[in-house]
């Protein structure tokens, strides 16, 4: 097969390219240049392009750089900023995977005559009910199935995720054996287009209006203090939130129109239901069925059980309450009987 490997310059995609080459495929590496702005963090900086290129050279495969800077700004960064301006907390990695890597890049790979696209994500493509489905990677701590939760069957059928069968330690050891310079490169942590020095707040503060907000107790309405910018507050946040006593307060809602941030104690902040945006509901199996599911609401969050209701109310009734989930985050559903397999995904909306 001719396989296009998306090489971020990290160790996982380096090893993905190596594994496919060693399996006898004709491999071409491509690094996406996504962000034109200044950033020292995350993937896809010039240094990362250089690492990917050098790994491709060592592996003896061709390497190309594809610029998607305009598309990335339009489909990932601008929606991220816009959502924050509406008091939501989006996950830009999900959008990047969904709209850049597994939409534009898949299209491009097909046009250029490739039989498959591969990435270094820790997840696996499996077959369930005669259809391709996404499953968790073998290394539970590094599993990335959450950020791929929206992939549909046609994309999964085109996708190769060779490192999903290995643990991160095995991946690093393999890279070291092959003499790849990325073998001990640290994992990327944060949002790639936001510099470590600047931080999320700094990045957003340059780009959105700031609404001063009064912090109130969720139940009594008693004012507890003020915040400079409600847009920079996330549901579930406890840092920098004023409290009338020794106990931490947790944000449970952000109302930009009223300039009001509601908070409460850890116990009372818990929620037993996730409301879903019906338009966002996606499933690799075509149609998502209601009923018992596992649900995960952050990249490395612990999955919990609940009942998915897709009729009128579009929600998940959780079997046990969880800390608050910020609107704009995604809920990824896993099969209740086959808990490694993704059943679908949806965006969490305001309660």
């Amino acid at each position: 097969m001719r396989v296009l490997v998306a090489m971020s310059g990290g160790v996982d995609s380096s090893v993905a390219a190596a594994l496919l080459r060693d399996a006898g495929h004709e491999v071409v590496g491509a690094t996406l240049k996504l962000w034109g702005g200044a950033s020292d963090a995350g993937c896809c900086s010039v240094a990362d392009v250089e690492d990917a290129r050098r790994v491709a050279q060592v592996l003896g495969v061709d390497h190309h750089v594809f610029a998607y800077t305009e598309e990335f700004a339009e489909r990932v960064v601008e929606p991220y900023v816009r959502a924050h301006a509406q008091g939501l907390t989006p996950n830009p990695c999900i959008d990047c995977n969904r709209f850049i890597k597994f939409d534009l890049l898949v299209d491009r790979a097909r046009r250029l005559g490739f039989d498959a696209l591969a990435t270094g994500h820790h997840a696996r493509v499996v077959t369930r009910h005669d259809r391709p489905a996404l499953a968790r990677g073998r290394d539970a701590a590094k599993d990335q199935s959450y950020v791929l939760g929206y992939l549909t069957a046609p994309t999964l059928a085109y996708l190769q995720l060779p490192v999903g069968a290995f643990t991160k330690d095995e991946v690093r050891a393999h890279a070291a054996r092959l003499g790849l310079r990325t073998w001990d490169k640290p994992d990327s942590q944060d949002v790639c287009f936001i510099g470590a020095a600047q931080g999320r707040r700094g990045f957003l503060a340059e780009r959105i209006a700031r609404t001063p907000a009064v912090v109130v107790d969720q139940d009594s309405g008693a004012p507890l203090g003020h915040l400079e910018a409600a847009e920079l507050v996330t549901v579930g946040q406890r840092r920098q939130i004023p409290s009338p006593d020794d106990a931490r307060r947790y944000v449970t809602s952000v109302d930009l129109v009223a300039g009001r941030v509601a908070v409460t104690t850890r116990e009372r902040a818990r929620q037993d239901r996730l409301d879903l945006d019906p338009a966002s509901v996606t499933s690799s199996a075509g149609e998502l069925r209601g009923g018992p599911v596992w649900v995960q609401t952050s990249a490395h969050g612990r999955p919990v059980t609940g009942q998915l209701r897709l009729a009128d109310d579009w929600c998940v009734d959780l079997d046990a309450p969880v800390p608050p989930v910020a609107p704009g985050q995604s809920a990824v559903f896993f099969d209740r009987d086959d808990p490694d397999v993704v059943a679908g995904a949806a965006v969490v909306r305001r309660r």
């Binding site: 010039v46 392009v49 061709d62 610029a67 305009e70 491009r108 097909r110 046009r111 250029l112």
Partner: protein, 383 residues
């Protein structure tokens, strides 16, 4: 495997005659030209012969030739050297660059403009890709220190009216005129094409010479502060031991092109037209600035709704080396500031493909590339 090398404007194949001229200065004892012994004297003689030759071929006094480490350095020395001299004498500096200058000029000016005493104006171009000398009226000031307009554009190949611009600058201001002749040098007689300019930037590797070899040629008296003063070489305008082999290579490459220019331009121009004739009927294909005077080696075309990166990928697989016109240091295709200055629709500028021919280009290469381009565009339009 390379079947057709059509990226001369990025770097031309090294010429054997140039390498032969350089060889004695690349092995064994090569004296430092500033030394006080026989080996130095011999190196110095080769250096000064190269200087005389470059001066003659550009049309400048030998004392005006400053050997540099390449075209980018030459442009930087012109822009920054004049700016620093102006700041020293006037306390401020106003620069004018055309909107289609190479990043060697634009980035040098942008860096200088971080200093609040430095202002940079931009000269627009028309849809024909050329600077209109009358546009100077809008940006030129009586005390402007430098006007920089390239001799021919590296992406589109459009030849700029340097002489008319220089005449107008001379009439309305005291500015020095710099012209980046890097792209033009293989094709145009620099004595004529850069006439009127006070400063001319050159490099050798677009001429089949070595990389990191260039010169800034100064005509008349222009105050230039050195960017790199250490050592005082090149009359105090560019410190550092001069690379004799590089200087000899630049002179030999310029000489070879000067000797062959007429024949080369006619032959390569025909090949270029042969190439364009085979692709111009492709869906959405347009030749860039077809009615403007252009360099004989440049075939610049755009396709609407097709990504240049994809065309180049398929060309590469077919063994055709071409470019999107501009590329950034990461290796990705970059949105072209030249095409956007010409007012080209972004949908079209994203599909820009530049094929540049040169002294060794064959008919077989051209036909192979045309076939590969036809196949690539058909593939991309089909899906």
């Amino acid at each position: 495997m390379t079947r057709a090398y059509l990226d001369y404007a990025a770097s031309a194949p090294r010429r054997e005659d140039v390498l032969a001229a350089m060889a004695p200065w690349m092995r064994g004892v090569v004296g430092n030209p500033s030394g006080m012994h026989d080996a130095s004297r011999r190196a110095r003689q080769a250096l000064e012969e190269a200087r005389d030759e470059v001066a003659e071929l550009v049309g400048a006094p030998p004392g005006g030739v400053i050997f540099t480490g390449g075209g980018t350095e030459s442009c930087h020395l012109a822009v920054a050297g004049v700016t620093h001299a102006a700041l020293r004498s006037d306390g401020s500096a106003h620069l004018v660059t055309s909107a289609i200058e190479h990043h060697a000029v634009l980035d040098a000016a942008a860096q200088l403009a971080r200093d609040p005493r430095v202002r940079v104006g931009s000269l627009p171009v028309g849809t024909d890709g050329a600077v209109d000398p009358t546009a100077l009226g809008g940006v030129l000031e009586p005390t402007t220190a430098l006007v920089s307009v390239m001799t021919a554009n590296n992406e589109t190949g459009v030849i700029q009216p340097v002489e008319a611009i220089a005449a107008r600058v001379r009439r309305d201001s005291r500015a020095a005129v710099h012209t980046d002749a890097v792209a033009a040098a293989p094709w145009l007689d620099l004595r004529r094409a850069t006439a009127g300019a006070d400063l001319v930037s050159l490099c050798a590797h677009k001429l089949g010479g070595p990389v990191n070899a260039g010169a800034l040629v100064v005509r008349g008296t222009v105050a230039i502060d050195p960017v790199n003063p250490g050592g005082g070489q090149e009359r105090g305008r560019r410190g550092g031991t001069v690379d004799v082999a590089a200087a000899v290579g630049l002179a030999a490459a310029l000489r070879a092109h000067d000797r062959e220019r007429e024949e080369l331009t006619a032959r390569v121009g025909r090949l270029r037209d042969r190439l364009l004739a085979q692709v111009v009927d492709l869906p959405t294909c347009e030749v860039t600035a077809p009615r403007s005077p252009r360099l004989a080696g440049t075939a610049h075309v755009t396709f609407a709704g097709v990504a240049a990166e994809e065309v180049l990928f398929l060309l590469d697989r077919a063994g055709v080396c071409a470019s999107a016109g501009a590329s950034c240091s990461s290796g990705a295709a970059e949105a072209s500031h030249v095409l956007s200055a010409m007012g080209l629709d972004p949908r079209r500028s994203r599909g820009a493909v530049r094929l540049t021919l040169g002294y060794a280009t064959s008919e077989e290469e051209v036909d192979w590339a045309a076939g590969a381009l036809r196949a690539a565009v058909a593939t991309l339009h089909a899906r």
